[in-house]
C-alpha cells in the first residue's frame, strides 16, 4: 500500500475541468515529482490533496485512510505538510513566530523545541534572522522559512509547490540540496515543479501533467532520457 494514493480525481473550476481523472501513488520514503507546464493542474492537484480545494469525484488516501473529505486544517495533524506555491509566509510575523505557527497542532513543548533546533541546524540563515519580520526576508529566505515552517509539524510527507520559483540559481541549488536531505531523513516528498531538470535530478519517480491529465509516468532517470519529456520540458 502506498503512503499517499490518489484515485481518479476530477476537479472543476466552474465549468472548466482543471483535473481529469488523475491517479498516482507516493510510496513511503520516495521523492515523487509532478512536472508540467504552467496551467497543467499541478497546484490544483496539491490543493485538492490537502483539502484547500475539493474534488468533484475520486478519492485520496493517506496511509490507507480516505482523506478526500477531511477539512484542510485537519490534514497537517495527520502527518502531511504542504509548502504552498509563492511561499505564503506570515509576512507581519517574525521568523520565530512563523516557525511556531508550523507547530500549531503539536502540544509537547519539549518536542517542539527539538524541532526548532533541527530547523535552525538545517537553515542557519533562519536562526540568524529569527527575530526579523518574515516579510522583509529575501525570496530564497522566505522559501527556506516556508520549508522550515512545514518541517515544524514533524510531517511524514511534505507536499512542495514550486519551491524554486523566482529564486536565483544559487538558491535553487540550495533548495534542491535541502530536498535531498529531507528525503535522507526519511520524510516522503511530493514535489511540484516547472523546473523539470532539477526536479527529475532529485526525484525517484515522476508524473508528467498536461492540461489536467497524466500523460507520462516513470522513474526519474527514464524520464530524463525520454524523448518526449526532453523535447517538451527539458529544452533539449
Amino acid at each position: 500500500m502506498a503512503m499517499l494514493e490518489v484515485r481518479d480525481i476530477n476537479v472543476f473550476f466552474g465549468v472548466i475541468q482543471a483535473i481529469k481523472n488523475i491517479s498516482f501513488d507516493v510510496n513511503q520514503g520516495e521523492v515523487v515529482a509532478l512536472i508540467g507546464a504552467n496551467g497543467a493542474g499541478k497546484t490544483t492537484t496539491l490543493h485538492t490533496i490537502t483539502g484547500l480545494l475539493s474534488a468533484a469525484s475520486g478519492n485520496i488516501y493517506l496511509d490507507g485512510k480516505d482523506i478526500t473529505k477531511v477539512p484542510a486544517h485537519k490534514i497537517v495533524g495527520m502527518g502531511m505538510a504542504h509548502v504552498p506555491e509563492g511561499r505564503r509566509v506570515f509576512a507581519s510575523l517574525s521568523v520565530y513566530d512563523n516557525l511556531k505557527m508550523g507547530a500549531y497542532t503539536r502540544k509537547d513543548k519539549k518536542e517542539i523545541a527539538q524541532s526548532l533546533e533541527m530547523v535552525f541546524t538545517e537553515f542557519p540563515r533562519l536562526k540568524e534572522r529569527r527575530n526579523q519580520v518574515a516579510g522583509t526576508l529575501s525570496g530564497g529566505e522566505q522559501q527556506m522559512l516556508a520549508m522550515g515552517r512545514a518541517l515544524m509539524s514533524k510531517p511524514r510527507i511534505i507536499l512542495m509547490d514550486e519551491p524554486s520559483m523566482g529564486l536565483s540559481p544559487l538558491y535553487v541549488d540550495e533548495i534542491f540540496k535541502i530536498i535531498s536531505r529531507i528525503k535522507k531523513d526519511g520524510t516522503t516528498v511530493l514535489l511540484v515543479e516547472q523546473n523539470a531538470n532539477m526536479a527529475l535530478s532529485v526525484a525517484d519517480r515522476a508524473y508528467v501533467l498536461e492540461t489536467g491529465k497524466i500523460i507520462i509516468e516513470g522513474n526519474a532517470n527514464e524520464l530524463l532520457n525520454d524523448e518526449r519529456v526532453r523535447k517538451a520540458y527539458l529544452g533539449a
Binding site: T50, G51, L52, P71, A72, H73, K74, I75, V76, G77, A81, H82, P84, R88, V89, F90, A91, S92, L93, D97, K100, M101, G102, Y104, T105, V133, G135, T136, L137, S138, G139, Q142, R149, S153, G166
Partner: protein, 293 residues
Amino acid sequence: MKFLSQLISGISLGSIYSLIALGYTMVYGIAKMLNFAHGDVIMIGGYVVYTACVTAGLPAAAGVLIAIVFCTVLGVAIERFAYKPLRSASSLAVLITAIGVSYLLQNVALLIFGSDTKSFSSVVSLEPVSLADGALVISGETIVTIIVSVIIMVALIVFINKTRPGKAMLAVSEDKGAAQLMGINVNGTIALTFAIGSGLAAVAGALLCSAYPALSPYTGAMPGIKAFVAAVFGGIGSIPGAMIGGILLGIIENLSKGYISSQLSDPIVFAVLIIVLLVKPTGLMGKKINEKV
C-alpha cells in the same frame, strides 16, 4: 481646568469608541468584512442590562455579565447564520447583509421594547471624585470607563500576541489558506473573533448607557458609525490603531463640543477623518508591510 475636564471626559468617551472600534477592526482583519450590525449589538447589550437591572432588579455586575454572555452568543449566531453562508460571495453582498442585520436588530428591539426612550440606570456605583477644591469633578462613570477599557485593551493585546487562539487570529488575518495548512480552523477562528467583538460591544453598551442614560432602538447607530470612523482613522485591521483612533476621536469630539460648538462636533470629527485619510490613506497605524518578492 475646563480643558482638563473636557480632556478627561473625551478620553472616557473615546475609550468606549475604542472598545466598539476593536470589534470592527478585528472582524475586518480576520473576515475581511465590515460588520455594520456591530453598533446595534451595543444597543442590544444596553437593553439586556436594562432588562436585567431595571426590570428584573438584578445587581449591576450580574446585568453586565448577562449582557456580555448574551451579546457573545448573538454575535456568533449572526456570523453563523447571516455571514458564514456568504463566505465566498462578493463583498457587496456581505455588506448589504450586514446592513440588513443592523435593521433587523433595531426592529426587533423596537418590537420588544417600543420606540420610547428608556432611562437607563448607571451600572457604576462609584462616587464622583472631586479634585482641586471642587474645580475638577470626575464622574464615577468616567473613571470606571477608562479603567475598564485599559484593562480590556491590555488583556486583548496579551491574548492576541501570547496565546494559541490569539496567534491563530493573526495567522488567519494574514492568509486564510496558509493558516489552514498550519492546522488552524478558520471558521472557528472567525467565530471566536465575532464572540470577542460582540462581548466587547456589550461592555461598551453598558458603559455608554451609563454615561448617556437614554436607551432607544437607535442608541447603537451613531456610536457604531463613530467607532467605525475611529477604526478607519486608526487604520482598519490594526488593533492598536482602533484603540488610539477611538481615544483620539473621543478627545476631538469632546474638545470641539466644549470650545467650538456642540452642533459642529460631528462634522469636525468627520472632517478630521477625511484629512487623515488624505494624508495617510491607510490610517494612523495602517498596516504597511515591506514585502520583497
